[in-house]
Symmetry: C2
Subunit: 349 residues, 2 copies
């Protein structure tokens, strides 16, 4: 009778009923044990747990999802444009952060890379199917606005990563791009810098736009005229920072804010190649402070992007929507700290 006793873990396909029989209780009781429902006597609970342990039983997720209307899975939608996805450490960082957050919350995430000009309907139907994803995390990107609207309209729990482009009533999480850059530029001004340049991010990204805005606002608040020769657009890559700085050097800036650390590193290289020193001749500030760029010399003064917190906040928001229904529009803006290291110096003394 008990011929299956010798732990056949292989392709385990026990059901609740099997466990029930093995432990001499009912299916319902086993279910209660598994889901930690209170109304089970200590003795029974322990015994059932032992049986579960030794059989290696695992509830069938599809069956569970069918009745509970919850899959504990969420989708992460990212644009798949070659240049950003590979060269910008932001995406790997984001993926890592979301993976970590999901792991913490016992969620699983599926990654959807959408071509910027892919058919919206197609990806929409792929993502928003019933009994599939509990909710969607959606990286904001310019050409994704239509898809974003469509998803929002469908009623599936949705949280946007980074602010949407058009101002709309879809909940999102973002960081203080404008304010933090303003702080950084103000710091440069306070420390006696007179010609502050910037290598911006791409102006078709929200962060690219916002960080430039922070730069401009700081200058304006201090009545410093905007000099277009001190502004150049980059693509967040080291290479573009290098080229951007080469472009800026003839205008003789005494400080440059690069909208990413990668670009800052490139900018420093260009500066050195021109026979100038950082921070001796030019102060350089970056943005991101991701772990892998911390061992640059000189250590970068930069703005810390709280990516881990960003991801966990986003997921928490999403899970709240899943559990309580998408409430009213919410935004969650995280502080980004300005961190002073060795690539800037005080020019007032």
């Amino acid at each position: 009778m008990d011929c299956g006793e010798h732990r056949s873990f292989i392709l385990n396909s026990l059901t609740l009923e099997d466990i029930a029989k093995k432990s001499g209780v009912s299916r319902s009781t086993v279910s209660r044990v598994i889901n930690n429902h209170p109304n089970v006597s200590k003795k029974v609970r322990q015994h059932v747990n032992e049986v579960i342990q030794q059989t290696g039983y695992q509830p069938h997720l599809a069956a569970r999802a069918l009745v509970s209307k919850r899959t504990l899975m969420c989708g992460l939608i990212l644009p798949r444009s070659i240049n950003t996805f590979f060269t910008d450490p932001y995406y790997p960082s984001l993926i890592q952060g979301i993976a970590q957050a999901c792991s913490n919350q016992n969620y699983t995430f599926s990654l959807f890379l959408v071509d910027e000009n892919e058919d919206e309907d197609q990806i929409y139907t792929k993502v928003a199917r019933r009994g599939f994803m509990d909710g969607i995390l959606f990286q904001s990107y310019q050409s994704g606005e239509l898809l974003m609207d469509k998803l929002a309209e469908s009623g599936i729990p949705l949280v946007i990563l980074g602010r949407p482009f058009q101002n709309k009533e879809i909940s999102y999480v973002d960081i203080e791009n404008v304010e933090s850059v303003e702080d950084a530029i103000q710091y440069l001004i306070d420390k006696g810098h007179k010609k502050i340049g910037t290598i911006t991010g791409p102006q078709n990204t929200a962060v690219g736009i916002d960080r430039k805005k922070g730069y401009l606002q700081a200058l304006m608040k201090n009545d410093i005229p905007i000099d277009n020769a001190l502004i150049v657009e980059g693509t967040f890559t080291e290479e573009s920072g290098y080229l951007g700085m080469k472009h800026l050097l003839p205008s003789k800036p005494d400080a440059v804010f690069a909208a990413s650390d990668e670009m800052a590193v490139g900018a420093i290289r260009a500066t050195n190649e021109a026979g100038l020193e950082v921070p001796g001749d030019i102060s350089v500030i970056g943005f991101d402070d991701f772990p892998m760029r911390t061992m640059v010399r000189p250590a970068l003064t930069t703005i810390h992007q709280p990516i881990e917190q960003f991801c966990s906040e986003a997921l928490k928001m999403l899970i709240a929507f899943v559990e309580d229904g998408s409430g009213p529009f919410q935004k969650n803006i995280l502080k980004a700290d300005f961190i002073i290291r060795d690539s800037t110096r005080d020019r007032t003394k």
Copy 2:
């Protein structure tokens, strides 16, 4: 009666039965239409399709999975070590490739980033749950062998990306690392290079080991003594290529094979900084040929990693296992072509 006609797409939760009623046929017939079963009359099929279209009906995936025992989802397991995940363009490329392959095959993939020293049991139970993933793609990495064995043992369809470390009977797909590097080194020898150095990949990775092996074998076949001063270990990053080349330069190599394009780029930078030219003074060969590193000057002679094909082969293999059961151990080794560009030159004339 027909009060729901005005397309309430929002939170669509129609069932097969609803569609059946609306189209005046039975649930079974609608199911046949949806799954393209042959036995449905043309007229009925068209009518049902219309109803499906205008209601926006989508089958409930959990319900479907419950009976069909298939979720059309697969897991991709990658190690989450900071340095490789962020700095090596291989991982983004792989993720992109798998995403593309899955999209083509109508699969969805979930990404699992596992800490190198995470509890195997925990991640195992996360991944190998019933009614969850149809199969698993598993990036080979040294400390992942235990988890890999465990998954293999569980009977879940499994394909390893890159060869396992210990030779075992688990199906995998790989590229010809050894052979392709041998070809490249042979080319250098044929073109009159006398002192060929290498910047290897990390020797705790299979590709790092294999590419070094290719280098060594080529030298041995040509009776060229191995000079340890001409061998240095890198980490696949540009920085490590730069440092590696600095280390090699005192030995005056006339050619260097770097186990990744990133390292090759760093090596060229170090060469130039030392006042030497590529390929004038030193020939440099890379490995990867990923799209984002093609605009380097001089254009890199390199070995093309067929990442797209690699991913699609892996997924095809996995799907075959899902459909027909994991057959006997298989390996699928893809050719990696040697591509001659401008970073090497002929020294025989």
